[in-house]
């Protein structure tokens, strides 16, 4: 329901061309017409002639866990596969195809993706989508854990890498913050409170489990970059997962954390708690005390 109601809001916006008349108003307002503006959106360089690009964009495939790194194991049995087959055909095949081959322009193929992406997209409720073109965002999962296991078992029969995993207990918080700052904070905000990239919602991470963090890092869901084991090794992955779990209850030594995103809530508190309280005090002080006065002189 929620997803349907807000779809028009959450749909990633295309980057519109700057309407020329808007630009004209601004240029006029600044009295700087006649000076050439640099190329604005939509007036790009032409691709080099002769080097015709390939016709289709390649899909971004999930990165496998590094050699020797621990992997997540999901239950598998013929019964589960059969159950997963039924669930897949009922809930997924309309977009991803009866044989997992995908539908051009609608949904990618799931052959060979392995268990990680299935677990990630289903356990975070990002799949299934109501509309193929909408952005998958975190929602209550539609399937139970047992159903997700069945779907993993079925999709894994088509091959693919094992799912990565992370053990926050083996991670180092300082290393986690360091890696998070360099690789993740640009989008997710330094305390994992989420953010903005053009045309996509960057989720906050307070609901993410260590397993989901590991899967997301290796997979790169939606427009997120993916990170292989050579860039972030298992220890760094464990550490980042530990840091992400830490952000659920960060060290708010200063008191109420006001959502840990810095100056916007601080400014609101300064105006509407601090200054507002002082204005009330000023009203108490500045007005004549009605009780003590025989008459109200300053009304």
């Amino acid at each position: 329901m929620r997803r349907h109601a807000t779809r028009w809001l959450t749909r990633p916006s295309r980057i519109p061309r700057t309407p020329q008349w808007m630009l004209a108003i601004l240029l006029g307002a600044l009295s700087l017409t006649g000076i050439a503006a640099p190329p604005s959106a939509g007036q790009g360089q032409q691709p080099a002639a002769g080097a015709g690009p390939p016709a289709t964009a390649p899909e971004k495939l999930p990165q496998p866990p590094g050699p020797g790194d621990p992997t997540a194991t999901f239950p598998s049995s013929p019964t589960l596969v059969a159950q997963g087959y039924n669930l897949y055909q009922a809930g997924c095949s309309s977009c991803h195809g009866i044989g997992l081959q995908g539908t051009p322009g609608v949904a990618p193929s799931l052959r060979g993706v392995g268990s990680g992406p299935v677990d990630f997209y289903l356990s975070t409720g990002r799949m299934p989508l109501a509309q193929p073109r909408e952005e998958p965002v975190r929602s209550p999962p539609l399937y139970t854990r047992a159903q997700i296991d069945a779907l993993i078992a079925y999709v894994s029969t088509f091959g693919g890498p094992a799912a990565p995993t992370a053990d926050p207990a083996r991670g180092d918080l300082a290393l986690g913050l360091h890696g998070f700052t360099l690789n993740c904070a640009g989008c997710h905000q330094i305390v994992g409170r989420g953010g903005l990239t053009l045309g996509a919602v960057v989720p906050d991470l307070q609901q993410a489990t260590a397993q989901q963090v590991a899967e997301a890092v290796r997979l790169g869901p939606y427009v997120m970059p993916n990170f292989d084991a050579k860039q972030l090794n298992q220890h760094q992955l464990d550490s980042i997962a530990a840091y992400v779990l830490w952000t659920r209850h960060p060290d708010d030594a200063g008191g109420w954390g006001i959502s840990n995103i810095g100056p916007i809530p601080e400014g609101i508190a300064a105006w509407f708690i601090g200054l507002a309280a002082l204005v009330i005090v000023a009203r108490l002080i500045g007005e004549r005390n009605e009780g003590a006065q025989p008459t109200e002189a300053s009304r």
Binding site: P12, R14, I15, P38, P39, A41, G44, Q45, P47, A48, A49, A51, P53, P54, A57, P58, E59, K60, Q63, G105, V106, A107, P108, P132, R133, L182, A185, G186, C187, G195, L196, T197, L198, G199, A200, G220, P221, Y222, V223, P225, N226, F227, D228, Q231, A253, G254, G255, V281, L284, I285, R288, N289, G291, A292, Q293, P294, T295, E296, A297, S298
Partner: protein, 344 residues
Amino acid sequence: MSEDERKPSRGVGRALALAVAARTAWRARRDRPRRETAAPPREPDVDPRERTVPSNRRAETIVAALLLLAALFGFGFTAVYIVLQTNTQLLGLALGGALAALAAAAIVAGKLVVPQETSVEERGPLLVEEQAAEVAGMLERGGEGISRRALLTGAGGVAGAALITAALSPVASLGPRLEHIHDTPWHAGVRLLDDEGRPYVAQNIEIGSFYTALPEGGDPGRLGAGLLVVRLPPYYIHLPAARRDWAPDGILAYSKVCPHAACAISLYRYPTYQRTSNAQPAFTCPCHYSTFLPGEGGRLIFGPAGRSLPQLPLLIDPQGYLRAAGPFLEDIGPSWWNVRRSES
């Protein structure tokens, strides 16, 4: 009444008036007993002076209690400081509570204990004609007997200007000249290192991820040090003809510093499935959200940046390491008057 309704603004006013009237009526009913004994209707020019001495024993008790409460909080602060040391919440509560109790004591005393007085003070004149004339006269009499007034004034002015110039010229030595303003640590042959100092190997650069690179032998603390490195499939690469060999094996390097306001660009989006994600691979600056296409030479597609993201030509050396194939051909970082920009 009926002609009022033609103007919507009067309607707004009347609605407001009714709302306030309701509040006033409620207040008036609350205040009625006192109001009946109130003073007779005022004259237009009334004398507002009055003085009342409250002599309010209960208020005095309240003030004393508040002062003792403040003392209690004050001792509490010291106790917390000694026992718990760094518990900011208790320290703040104790000191804030002490101050609040003191404030309340002062305000209650100021309003309910000490004499309440409304007094009238006359505003004196600011300009008194005779005195202004007198001052002007005194100033002028100081110049009596001087015949070459213009010369002295002029010479004094020149001396003052010279001294001010002399006092201000050392400001110039605060900052160096702009001679090295175009320099970055990136020259032909400089290897790209990760933030732990390991050189990047070209074959480890994966499609779909982004890498922060720093110059070998260069100061990582400099603005121009940081690079963004990505690998793109040929589908997305449409570099200008002059840059066709800047991206060996589809690996591209850009300055990490936004050419708008010098923030580090640390957002990279790469669509999992391009036709539904509706997005090309792009860099976005998290300060003002300028967005650049790495596949098209850093072209700006959204945001306030006035020019493209500067690209660094790369090469892969025989050992497979990534090296700069040359310096930046345009200035990195924020723009200034006559900044070197790319040719496009």
